[in-house]
C-alpha cells in the first residue's frame, strides 16, 4: 500500500504545480462523517398539534386568570382624584387667568378651585399635574436638549449643542439649560389646602424631593462645578426665554434641589411618551398610621397660573393618587389578563375536542396490517 501512496503523492505534486483552478487534492475529498456536516445533529422536532399544545393553553388560562384578577383588584383599590383647572369654561375660576395669559406679565395670575374628596386617601398620596394634548414626544422637541450640558459639562454649558436651536443662545449668551424642552418647563405652582369642618384652611405639606429618578438626580444631571455657588457656576449664561428666573433660582432654599438637579426640572426633562400625560409634582406623605393622609372632605387647590395651554387645545389637571406596586390606577391590564386567560381556557377546550376528533389517528402508532 505504501508504494501506491507514494505514487499518489507524486501525482498530487505535479498537478498542484499546474494550478489552474483547483490544485490537486492531497487527501481524499471524502467529506467527514460528522453529525454536523451530515446534518444529523440530535434534534427535537416538536409537532404543533392539538394534542401536544393542549396543556399549554390550559396552563396559560390557569395562570392568567388569577393574575388578571389580582391586577384588577389592585387597580380598583387605588384611589385617584382628578381635577381640571385649565379654565376653558367661562364659569371656571381660572378662566380669566387662561385668557389673559402673557409670558411677559410680571404679576402672576392666581386662581383657586374647590373640590371634595368623597373617600379618605390612606397611604402616601402622589400629586401629579396632568397635561393633555401636549406633544412632548414631538421629534424636534425631544431632541431639543443638550445632555452634556445637563450633566455639568462646562464646555457644553458655554457652547450648547446645535440641537438646542433656536433656544441655544439668547442675546449672545448661551442659554442654560438650552433647548425647547427646558424652555417650555411647566411652571404652574399648585398648593393644596384642606378645609376642615370649621372652615379653616390647613395647608397640606407637599414634599418636593424624591419625585425624580434617583439615577437622573444623582448621575445624569449635574450642576457645573458641583453644587458650590450656582450663581457663579452659571455666570455667563442666560435663562431660557420663557423662564421668569434663571436656573440657579429654581429652588433657592435648597442647594440640593437647585440648578440642573432641581427635581421638578428633571421630571420635566424626562419627556412623556404620549400627548396626554401626568408628571409627578409632589408627594404627600402619610404622617401617622391612624389618620388618613388625606381625609375625606373639602379641599382648595390654589394655582399660580403661569402655563398657557389654550394655544394647542391643551388641558391642565391636578391628580391625587395613592399608588400600589403596579403604579397608578389602570384596570386595563387586569381585564386583559382575565380575557386572554379565559380565551386560552376556552381554546383549550376546543382543542380538546379537535384532538379527540382528529388527532388520535396521527399519534397512534398502530399500523394497519
Amino acid at each position: 500500500m505504501a508504494s501506491s501512496y507514494n505514487a499518489k503523492e507524486e501525482d498530487g505534486h505535479h498537478s498542484g504545480a499546474a494550478g489552474h483552478g483547483g490544485a490537486g487534492a492531497d487527501k481524499s475529498r471524502k467529506p467527514d462523517n460528522t453529525a454536523f456536516k451530515q446534518q444529523r445533529l440530535p434534534a427535537w422536532q416538536p409537532i404543533l398539534t392539538a394534542g401536544t399544545v393542549l396543556p399549554a393553553f390550559f396552563v396559560i388560562g390557569l395562570i392568567f386568570i388569577p393574575i388578571g384578577i389580582g391586577l384588577y383588584v389592585t387597580s380598583n383599590n387605588i384611589k385617584e382624584f382628578e381635577i381640571d383647572y385649565t379654565g376653558v369654561d367661562s364659569k371656571s375660576e381660572c378662566y380669566a387667568c387662561a385668557r389673559n395669559f402673557s409670558w411677559n406679565s410680571t404679576t402672576p395670575c392666581t386662581c383657586s378651585m374647590n373640590f371634595t374628596l368623597e373617600q379618605p386617601f390612606e397611604s402616601n398620596v402622589f400629586m401629579y399635574y396632568g397635561l393633555s394634548n401636549f406633544y412632548q414626544n414631538h421629534r424636534r422637541y425631544v431632541k431639543s436638549r443638550d445632555d452634556s450640558q445637563l450633566n455639568g459639562d462646562p464646555t457644553a454649558l458655554k457652547d450648547p449643542s446645535k440641537e438646542c436651536e433656536p433656544y441655544r443662545t439668547s442675546e449672545g449668551l448661551p442659554i442654560a439649560p438650552c433647548g425647547a424642552i427646558a424652555n417650555s418647563l411647566f411652571n404652574d405652582t399648585l398648593e393644596l389646602h384642606y378645609v376642615d369642618s370649621n372652615g379653616t384652611k390647613l395647608e397640606i405639606p407637599l414634599v418636593k424631593k424624591g419625585i425624580a429618578w434617583w439615577t437622573d438626580k444623582h448621575v445624569k444631571f449635574r450642576n457645573p462645578n458641583g453644587n458650590t455657588n450656582l450663581t457663579v457656576a452659571f455666570q455667563g449664561t442666560s435663562k431660557p426665554v420663557n423662564w421668569g428666573k434663571p436656573v440657579y433660582e429654581l429652588d433657592p432654599l435648597d442647594p440640593e434641589n437647585n440648578g440642573f438637579i432641581n427635581e421638578d426640572f428633571i421630571v420635566w426633562m424626562r419627556t412623556a411618551a404620549l400627548p396626554t400625560f401626568r408628571k409627578l409634582y409632589r408627594i404627600i406623605q402619610k404622617k401617622s398610621s391612624t389618620t388618613p393622609t388625606l381625609p375625606s372632605g373639602r379641599y382648595i387647590l390654589s394655582i399660580t397660573y403661569n402655563y398657557p395651554v389654550l394655544s394647542f387645545d391643551g388641558r391642565k389637571r391636578m391628580i391625587l393618587s395613592t399608588i400600589s406596586w403596579m403604579g397608578g390606577k389602570n384596570p386595563f391590564l387586569g381585564i386583559a389578563y382575565i380575557t386572554v386567560g379565559s380565551i386560552c381556557f376556552f381554546l383549550g377546550v376546543v382543542l380538546l375536542i379537535i384532538h379527540h376528533k382528529y388527532d388520535n389517528r396521527n399519534t397512534s402508532a398502530d399500523i394497519p396490517n
Partner: protein, 1273 residues
C-alpha cells in the same frame, strides 16, 4: 525607461491598440531584438504572460468595490436614504446613526470580496512565479525565467510533465515524428492524452532546433475563446505559407506527457491565452425565488410609500388642527415655523428614513450567507460523494440552491448520464453474417452476477490488469482499495479491466482462420483498429498516475517510446495463452487456434514468459466507443501498436506489422455522424478510406448496387441485425471501406489542402471536403456495443417521477435503442399509454399529433381517471420534433407534452436538445433541470434553469458549463429530493420571515406616529433600533435558513411526493407573503397597543415606554421563529437564547454607560418594575396566539403531507417503513412491478376503495392533495 516623446508615446499606444484589435496578427521572433529598449520590441503591443485575475488593487480596492456594490439597487436605496438623512429638514435620526446599517452591510460585503480577491492574488502570484525555459540569444541556450516574464515571440522549451506557460505554436519536439503528447486535464478535465504536432517544415535545423534560425512571420488570428479552434500560418522568408491549426498549438495549462521536450513559439500570452479567456468565474444566475422576492420588495416599497403618505398627511392635519402655536412646536433657527404643507412635505421624507427598515436591507446579505451555508452542507454530503472518482458534488452556481427544490421537468441525456458510458463489446455483424459472441456474453454475465468470482480471477491473473485510460483516471489507492475490499459496488465488476477484454466468437475466429472471403474480415478488423483517434501510450511511460498494479509489478524505469518500438520490432512471434479465467469455450478455442495461427488473447501469467509488450499498450480514447472497438480488434489479433499523425502501426494476427501511412483523418462531427481515416496500404499502396458511423448516416452513402446483388443483400442483412441490436439496447456502428484511385485521391487532396489553409469558413470547407469523399462506401459490417445503466437509475427515475417531476430523455440514439433503455430505466412502463411519433413529413405529423391529442384527452376525460396523472409516454424522434415545434403545431404539442408523464426524444442533435429545453421552459413556464455529461449536452445544460453536469467519461465540458456537478446519476435523487427540498423550504421560510420581522418591528414606529403628531419620532433610541435589526435579530433567521430541517432526509427519500410542496409556487407565494405581512401588522398592533393602554395617561416617559415595546417585539419575533423552526438542535437554542441575552446585555450596558442617552437607566428601572414583565408576557401571548393556533389547527385538522411525514418520522423505524410503503402504494407505481405482473396498480382513485384504506383518512388526504397539483400546472 529612456526618454520618449509623449506624442510618440501616444502614437505608439494607439498603434498598439490597433495591433491588438486587428483580425490577423503578425508575430516575429523576439530574438533579434533581445536586449533592446522596450519601445523597439516588435511584439511590445501584446500583453505579457503575467496574469492578474484579481478584481481590485490595494490602492483602488475601496472605490472600485464600492462602485461595484452600488450596482445593486438595494444598496443604492439605502445610501440614498443615508444621504437624505443629512438634509437637516428631514433628518429623522442622527445622520451618523443612519449610516451604520449601510456601512455594516457594505463592509461585510467588501470584506468577503477582499478575502476572495486575496485568494486570487495569491494563486496569481504562485502562477506568475513558476519557472520555465526561454531561449536567450546571448547565452545561446534556454535560461530559466518565470512565467510572467515570458512574452509573445519568445521560444519556450517545455519538458515532459511540465505545464505549458503560454499558448505555444509547436515548432519542434524531441520526438522524431514531431509529435508531442499533452494532457488537457487542467483545461477541460479530459485525462486522455492528445497528440499535437510540430508545424511541418517550420524548422529546418537538425537534430537540434535553433530558434535563431526561425525567421518567418507567424500570422495568427485574434485571440478567441474557442479551445478547439486556432487559425494560423507561418510565412517564411521565401513567402511560402505553412498552415497551422489547433493541432499545432500547445495551450497554456496543458501538461506535456510522454515527450522528452517540446519547443514552441509564444503566440498568445497571459490573458490572451485560450485558457485564460475561458476562465470565467462562477456564473450568476437569478433563482426563481429571488425574482419573486424582488417583486415583494417592490410591494414593500409601495407599502412604505403608503405609510409615509399617511404620515405626512396626518402631520398636515395635525398641524392644521392647532389653534395657535404651541410650546412644543420648535421653530427653526431664525424663529420661523414651516407652513403645514411644507412641513408635511418634509415629513414624507423623514418618514421614509424612519420606516426604511421595512425594506429589509440585510436580507440580501443574509440570503448570501444562507446560501454559503447550504452549499457547505450539500458539498459535504457523504451520500453525494463518489468513492470511485473521489469526487464530491460541486456547486458552481452559488445562488440557485433553492431552485433545486422546485424542479418540474428534468431533461436528461442518455449516454453517460443514465448509462455508465463504459462500453462492452457485445455482437457484430460482418458481411451480413451475425456473430453473437455468446461466450463473451456468458463471461460478462458471470462477472456481473458473481462478484466474488472476479476477485479470485483477479488474484490469479494480476497481469491482465489493463490500465486503459478510463480506469486509470481513478487514483491508484482507490483501485487497490477496491480490489482488496470485497466488492460492494456492482459497478466495480463492470469497470474492471476484464471487461475491456473480449472473448472472440469461435465462428468468427474460424472464419478469420479460413481463406473464405477473408479480405472483408481483415478489412473489418483493420477498420476497427485504424479508424479512430485512439492514442497509444505505454503503460509504464504513460503517466505517473497509472495503475498501481503495474508500478508494483514492474520496477523497470520508464522506457522511452522509441526504445520500446525497437524492442517491439524484435518480436515476431507471440504465443497463445489462455488464462484460467476464461470460460471453457475459450479454452476450447485456444485449442482450435493451433496451426501456426498466433493470437494474443490474454496475457500470460506472470513468471511464465517475459512481459508481452502489448500488455503495456494503453489506449487513450476520446470516447469509450472507440476504445472498445480497438480492444475488440486487439482480441482478434489486430493490435494497434502506435499512432502518429502520419502513420498507424498495426500488428496482424499473423504477427506481421503493417505501418499504414495516414493520409488524412476526417474527424467526427455531429452533423456527419461519422468519421473516416484515409490511409495508404503499405504493400499494395492503395488509398483506402475506412469510415465508421451511425447506421442511418452510413446507409445512405453505400455504393450503388452496380457491384451485383451482394452488396444490397449485405446491406439489408446488416440493417436487420442493426435493428435487432437496437432492440437489445445496444449502440450500433457501421463500418465501411472505400478504395480510392490515386487520381481521385490527388484531386481530393488539393481541395482538402485549400480547405485546410483557408482562413474564412474553414470548418465548413473542411466538412464539405469530408462529405465529398465519403460516398460510395462499401459496407463491411456493424458492431453492437453495450452501454450499461448506472446504478440505481430505475429507482432514481421512479422517485423523480413520484416527486412530480416529468423526466424527458433526449438522446442521439436510434429509437429502438432508446425505447429499450427507456424500459430498462423505468422511464417507460409496460402498461403506459405509449405514443410513438415518427413522421416523415408534416402532414402525417399533424395528423399523428391530432390523433395523439385526441387519445390523450379521451383518457383524461374518462371519469375514472379524474384525479390521476395519465400514464402517457411519448416517444418522438428528432425530425418529428422539429416539425411539431414549428409555430403552427406548437400549441398542440405543448398540450400533449403537458399531459405526458415521460417523453423520450431520439436522434436529436445537441442544438435540438437545447431548443427542446428552451421551448418547454418558455411555453409551460416551468422550472427545468438539464443533466448531461458530454460536450453535446452543453447547450442543453446552459438553456435550463439548472444545469447539472455528470463527471463522466467524456471530459469535463458539461461539468464546466453546469451549475452543479455530480458524479453519478443516482445522486440527483438526494440532490433534488433532500437538498433541493431543504434549501427551498429553508430559504423560502427565511425570506418570508425576514419580511415579517422587519415589518413587525417597523410598524411599531408607525403606530407611534399616531400619538406623536406624525413627527417621525421614535420611542426607541436610534442606536438600539439599528442594533435591533443588525445584531439582535439577524443571526437566528440566518441559522434558521441554514439549519432548519422540516422533514428528515430518510422521509424525503422514502416519500418523494413530499418534493411536490416546492414545485410550482411552493411555500413562498403571494399568499404566504401577505399572510405574514398581515401577521406582522397584527403583532405590531398588539405589541404597541397593549403597552399603550397599560401606560396611557400615566407618567411614563418616552424611552420607558419604548423599552417594553422593543422587548415585546423581540420576544414576539424570536418566538415566532421558534414556532417556525421544525427541528431544534443545540445550535438553535444557543442562537436564540444568545440573541435574548445580547439584547438585554447591550441595552442594559447602553442605558448604564451612555450618559448622553436621554433614556439613561431606562431598562434598569423597567426591569425593577413588575408591570414590565406582566405587559411583556401578555402582549407576547396575544401577539403569537393566532399564528400558534393557526399552526395547531392546520396540523390537526388538515395536516400537510410534510406534517404527516413528520409524524411518521417520530415512529419506530420498522413501523415507519411500513407506513411509508402504505403511503406510497397509492401512487400506483412504487411496487416493484415487473412487466409480467398481472395486475398493475390502477391509477384511478376508484382502486382506493379498499375499506381499510378508505377508513384511513390520513393517507387519503395526501393522495388527493398531491394529485391535484400537477393537474393545475
Amino acid at each position: 525607461m529612456p526618454w520618449m516623446n509623449p506624442l510618440a508615446r501616444i502614437r505608439d499606444a494607439w498603434r498598439g491598440q490597433r495591433a491588438r484589435d486587428k483580425e490577423l496578427r503578425n508575430l516575429v521572433s523576439n530574438l533579434p531584438y533581445e536586449g533592446l529598449d522596450k519601445h523597439k520590441q516588435p511584439n511590445r503591443h501584446f500583453p505579457g504572460n503575467g496574469i492578474k485575475t484579481t478584481k481590485y488593487s490595494i490602492l483602488f480596492f475601496l472605490p472600485m468595490n464600492l462602485f461595484e456594490q452600488f450596482h445593486r439597487l438595494a444598496n443604492l436605496y439605502f445610501v440614498g436614504l443615508a444621504i437624505l438623512n443629512f438634509v437637516p429638514m428631514v433628518q429623522a435620526f442622527e445622520p451618523e446613526v443612519a449610516l451604520i446599517p449601510i456601512c455594516v452591510i457594505l463592509a461585510l460585503t467588501a470584506l468577503k470580496d477582499a478575502w476572495e480577491d486575496f485568494g486570487r492574488y495569491q494563486s496569481d502570484k504562485e502562477l506568475n512565479g513558476l519557472p520555465c525555459f526561454v531561449y536567450s540569444r546571448k547565452k545561446k541556450c534556454y535560461v530559466e525565467k518565470r512565467w510572467k516574464d515570458v512574452r509573445v515571440g519568445d521560444f519556450v522549451k517545455v519538458e515532459s510533465n511540465d505545464t505549458v506557460p503560454a499558448d505555444l505554436l509547436l515548432l519542434f519536439t524531441s520526438d522524431p515524428n514531431g509529435v508531442c503528447h499533452i494532457e488537457t486535464a487542467n483545461l477541460d478535465g479530459e485525462t486522455n492524452l492528445k497528440q499535437r504536432r510540430a508545424v511541418p517544415g517550420a524548422c529546418v535545423t537538425d537534430p537540434e532546433f535553433e530558434p535563431e534560425s526561425f525567421t518567418g512571420v507567424v500570422i495568427c488570428e485574434k485571440p478567441n475563446i474557442n479551445l478547439n479552434h486556432f487559425k494560423c500560418y507561418i510565412e517564411k522568408v521565401d513567402k511560402e505559407k505553412l498552415g497551422a491549426g489547433i493541432s499545432n498549438l500547445l495551450l497554456r495549462g496543458c501538461t506535456v506527457r510522454n515527450t522528452g521536450y517540446a519547443i514552441g513559439f509564444v503566440v498568445y500570452a497571459g490573458h490572451e491565452t485560450k485558457s485564460m479567456l475561458n476562465n470565467n468565474g462562477p456564473r450568476y444566475k437569478r433563482s426563481r425565488l429571488e425574482r419573486r422576492l424582488n417583486v415583494d420588495v417592490i410591494f414593500c416599497i409601495l407599502l412604505l410609500v403608503l405609510m409615509c403618505i399617511i404620515g405626512s398627511l396626518g402631520h398636515y392635519l395635525w398641524l392644521e388642527s392647532m389653534p395657535g402655536v404651541p410650546l412644543y412646536l420648535v421653530p427653526h433657527g431664525d424663529g420661523h415655523l414651516d407652513t403645514p404643507s411644507l412641513a408635511s412635505f418634509y415629513m414624507f421624507f423623514s418618514m421614509i428614513i424612519l420606516l426604511q427598515v421595512l425594506i429589509p436591507i440585510s436580507l440580501y446579505v443574509s440570503i448570501e450567507l444562507v446560501k454559503i451555508g447550504q452549499i457547505f452542507f450539500i458539498t459535504n454530503d457523504l451520500d453525494l460523494y463518489d468513492e470511485d472518482t473521489d469526487s464530491r458534488v460541486q456547486c458552481k452556481a452559488l445562488n440557485i440552491t433553492e431552485d433545486l427544490g422546485q424542479i418540474q421537468f428534468i431533461f436528461s441525456d442518455k449516454t453517460g448520464t443514465l448509462t455508465e458510458n463504459k462500453m462492452v463489446f457485445r455482437r457484430c455483424s460482418i458481411m451480413g453474417i451475425e456473430y453473437p459472441h455468446k461466450e463473451n456474453a456468458v463471461r460478462l454475465s458471470v462477472l456481473n452476477k458473481r462478484d466474488e468470482d472476479e476477485d479470485v480471477l483477479f488474484s490469479q491473473t494480476p497481469s491482465t490488469k489493463q490500465p486503459w485510460s478510463l480506469d486509470s483516471e481513478e487514483p491508484p489507492e482507490k483501485k487497490s482499495e477496491r480490489t482488496s475490499k470485497s466488492k460492494a459496488h456492482s459497478d466495480v465488476a463492470f469497470s474492471s479491466p476484464l471487461e475491456t477484454e473480449v472473448i472472440p466468437d469461435q465462428k468468427l475466429l474460424r472464419q478469420l482462420g479460413g481463406t473464405d472471403r477473408t479480405d472483408a474480415y481483415l478489412d473489418f478488423f483493420l477498420a476497427l483498429a485504424i479508424c479512430n483517434t485512439v492514442v497509444v501510450s505505454m503503460a509504464t511511460g504513460k503517466r505517473r498516475r497509472s495503475s498501481v498494479f503495474l508500478q508494483r509489478r514492474q520496477s523497470t524505469p520508464l522506457d522511452t517510446f522509441s526504445s520500446l518500438m525497437k524492442k517491439l520490432g524484435s518480436w515476431t512471434c507471440l504465443r497463445i495463452r489462455s488464462t484460467p479465467d476464461t470460460s471453457p469455450s475459450a479454452q476450447e478455442l485456444s485449442g482450435d487456434l493451433t496451426g501456426g495461427q498466433t493470437r494474443h488473447l490474454h496475457v500470460p501469467p506472470r513468471g511464465t514468459t517475459p512481459a508481452v509488450p502489448t500488455d503495456e499498450l494503453c489506449y487513450e480514447a476520446e470516447s469509450p466507443d472507440e476504445a472498445v472497438l480497438v480492444h475488440t480488434a486487439k482480441a482478434y489479433g489486430f493490435v494497434l501498436l502506435s499512432r502518429t499523425p502520419d502513420s498507424v502501426t498495426v500488428r496482424l494476427p499473423s504477427g506481421a506489422q503493417l505501418r499504414y501511412e495516414v493520409l488524412d483523418t476526417l474527424t467526427f462531427d455531429s452533423t456527419r455522424k461519422r468519421m473516416s481515416v484515409l490511409v495508404r496500404h503499405p504493400i499494395s499502396k492503395q488509398c483506402i478510406l475506412y469510415t465508421k458511423g451511425a447506421d442511418y448516416a452510413i446507409m445512405e452513402l453505400l455504393e450503388t448496387p452496380h457491384g451485383g446483388k451482394l452488396q444490397t443483400d449485405i446491406a439489408s442483412d446488416t440493417q436487420q441485425h442493426l435493428d435487432c441490436y437496437a432492440k437489445d439496447g445496444l449502440r450500433t456502428l457501421c463500418i465501411t471501406k472505400k478504395v480510392l484511385s490515386d487520381r481521385e485521391y490527388e484531386n481530393w487532396a488539393v481541395k482538402r489542402h485549400q480547405a485546410l489553409t483557408a482562413m474564412d469558413d474553414r470548418e465548413q470547407l473542411i466538412m464539405d471536403s469530408a462529405v465529398t469523399i465519403e460516398t460510395d462506401l462499401c459496407l463491411l459490417g456493424a458492431t453492437g456495443v453495450e452501454d450499461r445503466l448506472q446504478d440505481n437509475v430505475p429507482d432514481t427515475i421512479m422517485s423523480l417521477r413520484e416527486a412530480g417531476i416529468r423526466v424527458w430523455v433526449l438522446t442521439g440514439d436510434k429509437t429502438e435503442t432508446a425505447v429499450n433503455i427507456g424500459y430498462a430505466c423505468r422511464l417507460l412502463e409496460p402498461d403506459d399509454l405509449l405514443i410513438n411519433m415518427s413522421c416523415q413529413n408534416k402532414i402525417t405529423c399533424t395528423s399523428t399529433l391530432n390523433c395523439a391529442l385526441e387519445e390523450v384527452r379521451r383518457f383524461a376525460d374518462d371519469p375514472r381517471n379524474v384525479d390521476t396523472t395519465p400514464d402517457i409516454s411519448l416517444v418522438i424522434d428528432g425530425r418529428t420534433l422539429t416539425m411539431v415545434t414549428s409555430p403552427d403545431l406548437r400549441e398542440r404539442f405543448v398540450d400533449l407534452a403537458k399531459r405526458c408523464r415521460s417523453v423520450l426524444c431520439c436522434r436529436v442533435t445537441p442544438l435540438q436538445k437545447s431548443h427542446v429545453v428552451k421551448f418547454i421552459r418558455e411555453k409551460l413556464k416551468v422550472m427545468t433541470l438539464a443533466v448531461g455529461d458530454g460536450a453535446n449536452d452543453v447547450n442543453m445544460i446552459q438553456a435550463a434553469d439548472i444545469g447539472v453536469g455528470v463527471c463522466g467519461q467524456e471530459g469535463m465540458q458539461a461539468v464546466m458549463a453546469s451549475d452543479f456537478a455530480i458524479s453519478r446519476f443516482k445522486h440527483l435523487k438526494k440532490l433534488l429530493l433532500v437538498h433541493g427540498h431543504w434549501c427551498y423550504s429553508r430559504l423560502a421560510n427565511m425570506v418570508i420571515y425576514f419580511f415579517y420581522k422587519n415589518a413587525a418591528n417597523v410598524n411599531l414606529l408607525f403606530w407611534f406616529q399616531f400619538f406623536c403628531g406624525f413627527t417621525a419620532n421614535a420611542m426607541i433610541d436610534h442606536w438600539l433600533m439599528i442594533f435591533f435589526n443588525l445584531i439582535f435579530t439577524s443571526v437566528p433567521p440566518v441559522m434558521f435558513g441554514i439549519m432548519d430541517k422540516d422533514v428528515s432526509a430518510e422521509m424525503l427519500l422514502g416519500l418523494p411526493e413530499l418534493y411536490r410542496t416546492g414545485q410550482g409556487k411552493g411555500e413562498y407565494t403571494f399568499f404566504t407573503f401577505w399572510m405574514s405581512m398581515l401577521d406582522a401588522f397584527y403583532q405590531s398592533l398588539v405589541a404597541f397597543f397593549v403597552p399603550y393602554y397599560t401606560y396611557r395617561g400615566s407618567n411614563i416617559d418616552i424611552f420607558s415606554f419604548g423599552t417594553p415595546l422593543n422587548t415585546i417585539s423581540l420576544f414576539t419575533i424570536l418566538l415566532h421563529l421558534s414556532i417556525e423552526i421544525k427541528a431544534w438542535t443545540f445550535v438553535h437554542v444557543i442562537v436564540i437564547v444568545g440573541s435574548v441575552l445580547l439584547y438585554f446585555g447591550v441595552t442594559l450596558a447602553y442605558g448604564f454607560m451612555y450618559l448622553n442617552y436621554s433614556g439613561f437607566w431606562t431598562l434598569q428601572t423597567q426591569m425593577a418594575d413588575p408591570m414590565f414583565y406582566l405587559v411583556c408576557l401578555i402582549a407576547t401571548v396575544i401577539a403569537l396566539l393566532p399564528r400558534y393556533l393557526f399552526h395547531v389547527l392546520k396540523n390537526s385538522i388538515a395536516p400537510s403531507p410534510i406534517v404527516q411525514a413528520r409524524h411518521l418520522d417520530t415512529l419506530e423505524p420498522s413501523a415507519r417503513d411500513q407506513w411509508m410503503k402504505e403511503w406510497r402504494s397509492f401512487r400506483g407505481g412504487v411496487q416493484d412491478k415487473t412487466p409480467d405482473e398481472s395486475v398493475p396498480p390502477s391509477p384511478s382513485l376508484e382502486s382506493l376503495n379498499d375499506d381499510s384504506i378508505m377508513d384511513d383518512e390520513f393517507t387519503l388526504n395526501v393522495i388527493t392533495e398531491s394529485r391535484h397539483r400537477p393537474g393545475s400546472l
